[in-house]
């Protein structure tokens, strides 16, 4: 046997590969029936990270016996499971007659105990393949090492899951009012002894299940109990991923949200990770996107904006590897094939974020992909098709119209032309962009196909998934523009007027190897390709309204300018990852994750102008070509153990962990732009405007030491310390980040009233530090090459663009979080509430140094001078309203109140203005106000000085300071969900959300103004003044949205099994189904400022389509 084992070990790679090939080819053949080596045979394995060693107790037994003895039956069961059974023939009634006994698919322990029902003996089966039949009561306590002293008042039995009927280990069984308690073993078996005769209530309690109370009629009879626990809504028992491995939520003082990706896919037509995060409606998590077009950049903010100048993006970890999560278009995180995602965990709060190192101050999103299940190869096919359309009304647009003084032709007549005596205004043109003749948006369409297979056996498990998706955007060129172009005899590339589209192809594979019982190896290879074509058209000066009849179109300005914006971006992403977990028999776990995430993107963009005639001259466009690549190499290791075990382990659990991680991020950007491209000429004819390449490389490393200390399994402390170094950090800066947290399961205390109305009450709190580091480029001053004309000739120059600051330190976030978890109403309602208070100290402020340091861009530099405060209150309530066998109705609700405030910008600075003058809108960072705020400047006084009846800009005096309107981060956010499951097959789900108190700046690429009064001689002067100053383009708004609705049906197995189909489901889903808002335009929930890094909400009501309303049909089939 030993020799075999060695032999097997030596041949693992070859045999494993062979096994994979065989399984792939003969996927339908059960692994156990092949000639595969022993290592490839075996039972179902758990997931990676959970205990993977073979456990004989879980071997299933199917047996049917008649007219036999107890001994024969015991041996038959043991033999069939490969169990070596030990018992005393003198004590055990071996000759007891058994008339009939049968079990099907039951674990060996359960089968033996079922056989021993009615006796005072129980079977204890150990993982090493040995079992013992012993008298009940000898197992009192957890260790079961004490001798039974009094078997007369014994209570024994099993606790099983109400659904699976499997034994539940770890259930606390106690006698109220006494110190008598025990915990069920691996099979759910418990034995209580010395139960006082006057006590006849037994409590059963375990996180994740509704507590139960049983009444014992006569204790002294040593009743055998079968107790079924019903799974409860609480998720405290859930295992979540932390930086240091897997932990139960109950042990973690932070609120970590875990999303089951499949549940999200069931209820909403998700295409991407962004869609999933959006559909999940997680408290404190805000998802925005640049537009409703495919491939639009997306942005995730967790608990608000903490950094003034640095990225506020969370850290993304996929299967233990860092990936690049920077905001780009196409969205980088959306290159992950969403079909391969199994769970998403959103790690907020101090104690968790601390352990993820630099940049984790903004939260961490941990993604775990599917690794497959062992067994025969399962094939899954998925097809999804959806259709959508943008909707919403655009505001009316106003323009002055008149006659050219000289030519008499009808022209646009802005006030400046009136003042210059170019035209005489006689009317105001008003047109409705919603008119289908003027602006029509096409129908969005997506088709997605997915194919995956997985399977394996004891020593190898595999999962391969491929998907392809083709999305056509909403936007399509308006017929009016085509007519206009033809009328102007302009040639144009017809492709350019097609809707934006994105083609995505993805291939993901995971290979999990288990060469030894205590060693898991997971190899990951992912590849994704995206081809994004982004088409926009932009009418620069285009008003075509007929002042007499707005429904008809006059080509008043046929020569006006029309721009086409075209961008093609081909992105390739490759991820290689490996994860190794080694478990020592004494409980030491060593985990290592290595990853390489490489993305390259080739970009071509062009802008071509039409109809600008003499204004354009020969210069009708520009073109830019870019090559961008990002490589993230990461290594993460940690060692953890449980120092206490046995009975002591019940009282004190000490789980120390130590870890080290390393990350190298290299970003390479190169751009060449050409302008002055002549009409009809290729782009190469243009002049090179600029050519600039940059390489940014950042390397970080850090180590941490942490420990969970559990006391009596109801009080947990989490203590940790992290230290980082990095190439973007001043070596002497303090980069040590401590954390301290605690969680107390109050409801498990003896003083907690014995009632089931409030079954779980946990208090938790913690404080911890995290950081966001500066950019490498911010440390040192920087020159770019240029040319100067010196002493009569052009010479090469080095121009100072950045002064740099070698004293920079990371921003330091200190976050305090307190909250509670509550399960009430017989575990049907679960409440999670969290209050977080976070201060970003040493906030990096990009400050323009005084003019005496130089000019413009020469004088900006970052300093650690700011202080930003974020506070949030997050609450989620999940309740089971109806719980019948045929109907289950679940309601959930979540709510977030967030507050953000700039507390300081350093000495002498109270505000940093980004837009000082001209527009009437000031995007500024002001002490006392939130980041992402918008301010509008209002007219103070106005006078029609020249008496022409029109108020022009020069006739208005506006207030010096801006008036605060609001911030981009809604102060209140809530979501509601209703989920109905009927006969376990039909699921109907609907989701709603609201957001309030957020401000948008809705400038429009459609020229003209949306304000009544604009250039209207008949309008009151104050309205003209407001309209001139665009003061109305900033608004504080709220919205209520019907996010999604779905109906899905899982076909019964009996109906489809005859077609050799394992599972099949059909669902019809809709998203973005309704919007109720006082906002004057279309859907305000797009933010064009994402790519520019602006935290201010900017809505372009012209060329940027809002998120479409979509309907999708999904068909999934498993073979």
């Amino acid at each position: 046997m030993k020799r075999d084992r060695i032999n097997v070990m030596l041949t693992i790679p070859v045999k494993t590969l062979l096994a994979v090939m065989i399984i792939l080819i003969h996927g339908r053949i059960e692994a156990q029936r092949t000639n595969l080596p022993d290592l490839l045979r075996g039972e179902v394995r758990g997931e990676v990270g959970k205990q993977q060693q073979e456990d004989i107790r879980e071997r299933r037994v199917t047996i049917s016996l008649h007219n036999t003895t107890l001994e024969k039956a015991m041996n038959e069961i043991a033999q069939s499971a490969g169990l070596k059974l030990t018992y005393s023939r003198t004590i055990v009634p071996v000759n007891k007659k058994i008339d009939s006994f049968s079990v099907k698919g039951m674990s060996v322990g359960e089968a033996l105990n079922k056989l021993l029902d009615g006796t005072k003996f129980i079977a204890i089966v150990r993982a090493n393949g040995r079992g013992v039949i012993t008298e009940a009561g000898s197992q009192q306590g957890n260790a079961g090492s004490e001798k039974q002293k009094n078997i007369d008042n014994i209570i024994k039995g099993r606790v099983v899951d109400s659904a699976s009927k499997n034994g539940i280990p770890g259930v606390m069984v106690s006698v109220p009012g006494t110190e008598i308690r025990t915990i069920t073993d691996k099979n759910g078996v418990f034995v209580l002894s010395n139960v006082p005769a006057n006590r006849n209530h037994i409590n059963f309690k375990l996180l994740g299940y509704a507590s139960a109370v049983r009444t014992i009629e006569n204790v002294n009879k040593g009743d055998d109990l079968l107790v079924m626990l019903v799974p409860a809504a609480t998720s405290l028992n859930e295992v979540v991923t932390t930086a240091t491995g897997f932990q139960r939520r109950v042990e973690i003082p932070s609120d970590i949200v875990k999303i089951d990706a499949e549940k999200i896919r069931q209820r909403a037509p998700v295409r991407s990770l962004t869609d999933m995060l959006e559909a999940a409606q997680i408290p404190g998590v805000l998802v925005t996107r640049a537009s409703g077009d495919p491939g639009a950049a997306t942005r995730v903010r967790i608990r608000g904006i903490g950094s003034i100048s640095q990225s506020n993006d969370p850290v993304y970890i996929v299967d233990g590897m860092w990936i690049d999560g920077s905001v780009q278009s196409p969205s980088r995180i959306d290159l992950i094939d969403q079909e391969t995602i199994e769970t998403i965990e959103v790690v907020r709060g101090p104690s968790a974020a601390t352990l993820y190192g630099q940049d984790a101050s903004n939260g961490v999103i941990v993604i775990t992909t599917k690794k497959g299940l062992p067994g025969i190869t399962r094939w899954n096919f998925g097809y999804s098709s959806d259709w959508g359309r943008a909707y919403g009304k655009m505001p009316l647009v106003y323009e002055g119209l008149g006659y050219n003084q000289i030519t008499g032709e009808r022209v646009l007549c802005p006030v400046s032309s009136v003042l210059a005596f170019v035209c005489v205004q006689d009317s105001v043109g008003i047109y409705d962009p919603n008119s289908k003749l003027i602006l029509r948006e096409g129908q969005e369409r997506q088709d997605a196909y997915s194919l995956s297979f997985d399977g394996g056996a004891k020593a190898v498990k595999y999962s391969v998934a491929a998907s392809t998706r083709n999305v056509l955007g909403v936007r399509r060129a308006a017929p009016i523009d085509l007519i206009r172009l033809r009328k102007m005899n302009q040639t144009y590339d017809k492709d350019i007027l097609k809707p934006s589209r994105q083609k995505n192809h993805a291939l993901s594979s995971n290979l999990s190897l288990y060469p030894r019982d205590n060693l898991d190896i997971v190899l990951t290879v992912k590849a994704a390709y995206s081809d994004l074509i982004d088409n926009r058209y932009k009418l620069v000066s285009h008003v075509v309204a007929n002042p007499i009849n707005p429904d008809t179109i006059n080509f008043l300005n046929e020569g006006s300018e029309f721009s086409e914006i075209f961008r093609n971006m081909q992105t390739r992403n490759t991820v290689f990852g490996s994860s190794i977990t080694w478990r020592h028999k004494h409980g030491i776990n060593v985990t290592g994750n290595g990853g390489l995430d490489h993305t390259t993107a080739n970009e071509t963009g062009s802008t071509r102008k039409y109809g600008c005639g003499l204004i354009c001259g020969n210069d009708i466009g520009s073109q830019s070509d870019g090559m961008h690549s990002t490589t993230v190499a990461s290594l993460r290791t940690n060692v953890s153990t449980m120092l206490t075990r046995g009975r002591l382990g019940y009282f004190i659990e000490l789980q120390p962990r130590i870890g080290f991680d390393f990350r190298n991020v290299k970003r390479n950007n190169f751009n060449v732009s050409r302008d002055s491209i002549p009409g009809g000429e290729p782009a190469s004819s243009g002049r090179i405007g600029s050519a600039l390449g940059t390489v940014r490389e950042t390397t970080d490393a850090g180590w941490y030491l942490s420990s969970t200390v559990g006391i009596l399994r109801k009080l947990y402390f989490d203590i940790g310390l992290r230290q980082d170094i990095g190439s973007a950090i001043k070596s002497s800066s303090n980069t040590t980040y401590p954390k301290l947290g605690g969680a107390w399961l109050v409801s498990d205390e003896g003083f907690w009233p014995e009632n089931n109305f409030i079954s779980i009450f946990r208090l938790r709190g913690g404080i911890g530090h995290a950081a966001v580091q500066p950019d490498v480029g911010d440390i040192k001053g920087r020159f770019v090459t240029g040319t100067r004309y010196i002493d009569g000739k052009v010479v090469k120059s080095l121009e100072l663009t950045n002064i740099g600051n070698s004293e920079l330190m990371p921003e330091r976030a200190v976050e305090l979080e307190v909250g509670f978890d509550l399960d009430v109403w017989y575990d049907r309602i679960s409440v999670i509430a969290t209050y977080a208070h976070k201060e970003n100290k040493n906030a990096l402020v990009s400050r323009k140094l005084p003019s005496s340091f130089g000019r413009g861009s020469d004088v900006t530099r970052k300093e650690n001078i700011g202080l930003v405060q974020n506070r949030s209150l997050e609450m989620s309530v999940n309740g089971i309203a109806v719980d019948k066998s045929w109907l289950r109705l679940v309601l959930d609700y979540s709510h977030t109140i967030s507050d953000n405030r700039v507390k300081s910008l350093g000495p002498g600075t109270t505000s940093i203005s980004r837009s000082l003058v001209g527009t009437g809108i000031t995007d500024a960072i002001v002490v006392g106000y939130p980041l992402g705020s918008v301010f509008k400047r209002t007219p103070l006084a106005y006078m029609d000085e020249n008496g022409d009846g029109l108020i022009s800009i020069s006739e208005i005096v506006v207030k010096d300071g801006g008036v605060y309107v609001g911030t981009s981060n809604p102060r209140y956010r809530g979501s509601y969900g209703i989920n109905t499951t009927m006969w376990n097959r039909l699921v109907i789900d609907s989701r709603f959300s609201y957001q309030s108190d957020y401000a948008v700046d809705y400038n429009s690429s459609i020229s003209g103004r949306k304000d009544y009064g604009f250039q209207d001689v008949n309008a009151p002067l104050y309205l003209q003044a407001q309209a001139q100053y665009q003061a109305l383009n900033v608004d504080r708004i709220s919205d209520f949205r019907w996010n999604s609705a779905s109906i899905s049906y899982v076909l019964p197995a009996v109906r489809i099994s005859s077609f050799d189909v394992r599972s099949m489901s059909i669902s019809l889903q809709g998203t973005n189904l309704g919007l109720w808002t006082k906002f004057g335009g279309r859907d305000p929930w797009v933010n064009t400022g994402i790519l520019s890094g602006s935290e201010v909400m900017r809505v372009d009501q012209g060329s940027v389509p809002p998120p479409p309303r979509k309907f999708a049909l999904n068909i999934k089939m498993g073979l």
Binding site: I658, T694, G702, F783, G786, D791, L800, P850, S852, V957
Partner: protein, 462 residues
């Protein structure tokens, strides 16, 4: 080492879990000194360079080119602003900032900074930007330890001296001159009075002179600069001494061009001189004109009939029924702006002798005039008339070169004239009628903000 440690550590180390614990501790200890594991790679590529990477001769010369380029633009823009602010030019546009500058108006409009603050910001920043570069050049050369580059240090001192001098001459009393070391350390300072600034300039010129020059042009630059600074301080004897070595052929020119170059923002531009006066040769594109007796006190730059002075060439044209004169001194991109030279020596000598009562003051003026074949002038008799004559000569010689405001201020400060006798005053005739009267701004003031040590101008008097 680890095994030995474990074996000798008693019963705990004989158990495998504890070996791992000690192993983990070893990692922990090692992790405490992780610096060696991290490679600090400076970003580098062909297009952008870290400050610390400028470690070559070519690199420092490229930084120098940038500094000179910005200095050129700063001088050009400052001169343009001075021309408008004084009587050298008068606006023909309705651009609020330019009009306000021409009218010497300091006014808040639309919540903006005052026109003076906005308009004079650009040259102030360009000059300071080059000043910072000059500081860096000195640091870089020092780090290179290459004595053959000392001439750059000399040039940097001289040109930095000029930035300080120009700011002192034209901006209010109270100008901050913060420093930036090569490693990026910023040092804020309080504002320097006009006197302090001029003394700083003199010390910089002195520093330039004691270091090796590559040619006489930097010698003359520092000598004339020093003389000019002493002149502003009213120390005429020192000014006189400073310029004695300047020969008739000595000159430091700033070169401008219509060639395309890339400026510091990466945009292609042409380093034209005097953009505010129109960069093209066509008269219609020139935005500002030359006006005789602007604001009553202004000089008569050109005769209505007859040939104009060779030093202030103009062309007259009837536009919109008005006789408009356009300057012809700088009308193409390829111009040379003399920053320092022998003419200025003569003007300094003249002023010194005039105040000494020495008749050679008139000789100096005529000596200069003869270089352009201009007829000798005669002594007007009174001291006041002599002063007027001297300053008129200076005005013609240094037309559009950015001297006029400094001269205005000296006339007030050193010769006791009222500002209202010197600056354009009374009814404002330029622009499109937005301003009715000339304002009372006598100097430019720094568009300075967010300077923790700067409290604004000490005063805005001449």
């Amino acid at each position: 080492m680890k095994v030995t440690l474990l074996k000798g550590s008693g019963f705990l180390t004989n158990r495998l879990p504890f070996r791992f614990i000690f192993g983990a501790l070893a990692i922990f200890i090692q992790a405490c000194s992780l610096d060696g594991l991290v490679t600090v790679d400076d970003p580098q590529d062909g297009e952008s360079v870290d400050i610390g990477e400028v470690t070559t001769r070519a690199g420092v010369l490229a930084v120098y080119a940038s500094a000179i380029g910005k200095f050129q633009i700063g001088v050009n823009e400052l001169s343009s602003n001075v021309s408008l602010f004084t009587d050298e030019l008068s606006v023909r546009s309705n651009f609020a900032g330019t009009t306000g500058l021409d009218a010497r108006i300091e006014k808040h409009t639309q919540g903006l900074l005052s026109p003076l603050g906005v308009v004079v910001a650009s040259p102030y920043e360009y000059l300071n930007s080059s000043r910072i570069n000059f500081l860096q050049i000195r640091d870089i050369v020092r780090n290179l330890n290459d004595s053959s580059l000392n001439y750059l240090v000399s040039a940097a001192y001289a040109l930095e001296g000029y930035t300080v001098l120009l700011l002192a001459e034209n901006y209010c009393s109270g100008i901050p001159f913060p420093t930036l070391t090569f490693d990026g350390s910023v040092k804020y300072v309080e504002g320097s009075s006009t006197t302090e600034a001029l003394k700083l300039a003199i010390s910089l010129f002195d520093s330039s002179q004691i270091i090796h020059h590559d040619s006489t042009r930097f010698k003359v630059l520092s000598q004339i600069g020093k003389g000019r600074a002493y002149l502003s301080l009213g120390l005429l004897d020192s000014a006189f001494i400073s310029v004695q070595d300047v020969n008739p052929t000595d000159v430091y020119n700033l070169h401008y061009s219509d060639l395309q170059v890339t400026n510091e923002e990466g945009f292609v531009s042409k380093p034209y001189a005097f953009w505010t006066t129109g960069s093209a040769s066509t008269l219609g594109s020139q935005s500002n004109g030359v006006r005789n007796f602007e604001g009553t006190n202004g000089i008569q730059w050109f005769p209505l009939v007859g040939a104009p002075d060779a030093r202030v060439p103009v062309t007259q044209q009837i536009l919109d029924g008005i006789n408009v004169a356009f300057q012809q001194k700088y009308i193409t991109g390829n111009v040379v702006l003399p920053l320092a030279g022998w003419i200025e020596r003569k003007m300094i000598e003249s002023e010194y002798w005039m105040n000494e009562g020495d008749p050679r003051w008139l000789d100096a003026i005529n000596e200069a005039r003869r270089t352009r074949s201009i007829q000798d002038t005669t002594d007007p008799g009174s001291l006041e008339a002599r002063v007027d004559l001297l300053f008129r000569e200076r005005a013609f010689w240094f037309y559009l070169n950015g001297y006029r405001l400094g001269d205005y201020r000296r006339l007030v400060r050193q010769y006791g004239k009222s500002p209202y006798e010197v600056y354009p005053s009374g009814i404002y005739e330029g622009g499109y009628g937005e301003y009715q009267l000339y304002g009372d701004a006598f100097v430019f003031y720094p568009p300075e903000f967010a300077n923790v040590k700067y409290q604004g101008c000490n005063h805005k008097d001449p």
